[in-house]
Each structure stands twice: as structure tokens, then as C-alpha cells.
Amino acid sequence: MSCSRRTFLAGMSAIACAGSLPRLCAQSAENPRRLALVIDLARCRQARTGCDLCRQACHSAHNVPSIPDRAHEIKWIWDEEFKRVFPEEVRPGLPPEVAASSVPVLCNHCDNPPCVRVCPTGATFVQPNGIVAMDEHRCIGCRYCMSACPYGSRSFNYVDPRPFLRATNADYPTRAKGVVEKCTFCEERLASGKRPACVEACPVQAMTFGDIRDPAIQARLASTRILRRRPELGTSPYVFYIL
């Protein structure tokens, strides 16, 4: 019996394809969740005159210290001026209330996170649901991730943060001096079926959280003008803003 080179190669590739089929099927069947957050800035502006309930809720849930020295401050979610968040949107004719507003900003949990790519120890990594997670046990404090993140979403503990905590939530760890920390999309709350602390705390329900395919998210993303921070960088953020 003769076996030409062509038949042999065809046979081998058929076997290889058959071998990878179950994995391919499993992937498409699972259809893993991809978590996203939509922030309606029009609603947020309604509530705003000094409303920072989202920040308070987040920072007290996760033992984020309030350090008065701005060089050392730790931020998971905070307010930023519109013109600094969306500099490319600032143009003549922009409604003055929009131009003067401030925008809640947090980690964008990018699809292509530069912080993960540069981390030398694998301390920061992407979970299957899209959360860019942080493992402080492995963090060596090199701050490459802080240089890589174009959104400033990461903070470094230059000083021991514990003296700057007003109250400690014993259910969540504090951090030590010398590690980087960031928003985790409240993965510990999601595990017990709760929504993120910021989403829950918002008095005007400006934030919608869920899988990107959820009808509630889809409805919001379809309805109005959607902004993402610095899309030209190719990081593909999953925090969406409705102008």
C-alpha cells in the first residue's frame, strides 16, 4: 500500500482538527461572560453637586485610605474634569454644563490591557470574565503597570496605608506598603451575587453593570452617544460613558 506525501499530510491535519474540535465547541458553547460598566453622564450630572457616593462606597468597602498628600494618594474610583477625561471631545459648541462637569473614572478593565502585558511577575492578570485583576501577593512594586496604564487607574502604596483608614472593613484585606492596587470591579461582591459597590451606591442609577450581552447593557449602549476613554490607543476599554 502506498501513501503519498499529500495523503499523509491531509490525514495528519484531519486528525489534528478532530482533536481540537471538542475544545472549540466547548468555547463557543460556554460563551463566557464579559463584564462591562455603562455610566450615564447625563444622569450623573443631575445628581452632581459634590455627590461622591460611589467613591465613598467603593473606598470604604475596599479599605482605600484617604491620604491628604496628593503624591501618595490611593484611588480606585474618583472624579476627573471632563476635559481631562475626553480631551478629544472638547470643541466649540459643547454644552457648557457638559464641559464644566466632572466624570467618575475608574479602571477600564480593557480587553487589551497594557498593565498586564508589562507586569513581570504576573501579579496582574485578566480573568475569564474580563476583569483585570490584581494579586497583591505577587506584586513586587516595580510600578511598570502604572507607567503602562494610560488612564492612571493604578495607585502605589508609597507609605503604609493603614494609619489613613478611618474605619476598616474586616471582610476585605488592607494593603501593605510597596504594592500597587486598583479597582477590581468588586469581584468579591460579584461572587456573592451583589453588584459593585459604586453601582449600588449611585443615587440616580447612573451606572449599569453586567455582561456585555445583557439586554439592560445593550439597551443603554444602543440608545445614545457612547464614549470610551482614549479608544485610539487600542486598549478597548469596557467602561462606557453616555455623553
Binding site: 494579586d135 474586616a170 456573592s192
Partner: protein, 133 residues
Amino acid sequence: MSSNRTRAWLLPVVAGVVILSPFAYSVGRFAWASIFSTPRPFLQVAADPSRRCVRDPAWMRQNHRVFLQELRDKTVREGIRNEVTLRSCSQCHKDKAQFCDKCHSSVNLHPDCFECHSYSTTVHPVVLPEGAP
């Protein structure tokens, strides 16, 4: 002449004893502690007598480090969270000084778990995982 020779012999010995005494003390103390006074973790009897450890206590005594590391990796890296947490140990072992520190300090080990995690005694009840021994 002979006394001079004796002194010449004595000097390095005395110097050697002086130099080595800290090492000897540290090794000796460790040896003494491990032979004669092996500390045992102090368990406060739980209010609920049906409550038992998530693993066999003898196994835990040897391998809690591995157990805790696996628990950490499961929680942080894989996002698998169940009711067994580092904090839930304190439900039964209420006194950290007796339960953790006693053994660790006798072997000069200083794990930094509770620099960040809190060893508080008010946590949710422990639910044993399926098939726990």
C-alpha cells in the same frame, strides 16, 4: 615556658567560643525547643461541638501552609470563592497569639498574612465543602 605555651593554646579557644557563642545559643535553643517543648496550637473549644476542622487536624498541623497557599490561589487567581477563608479559621481558633504565633515564633517564622488580612472572630459560619475528610 610551659605556661606561655598553655596561654598560646588558650587564646584561640576562648576567641572561638566567644565568636561561636551566638550561633551555639541559637542552634541550641532551637534544638531544645524542638526536642523538649514542641508547642501545640491551642484550640479553644467551639460553642458548637459538631463543628470540626475543614481538614484532619494532624494533617493541618503539618500542611496548613500548603492548604492556605492553595486556598489563596483558588480565590485570587481562579476566582473560586467558597465559605472557607483565611478569616474563618478564627471562628474556632479565636486566639491568634496562641494558635498562630506560639509555634511560628518558637521556630522564628514570621508569616505576614495578618498584616493585610484581619484575624477577626466575627465571620460568617463555616460551611464544609463537599467531600471534606
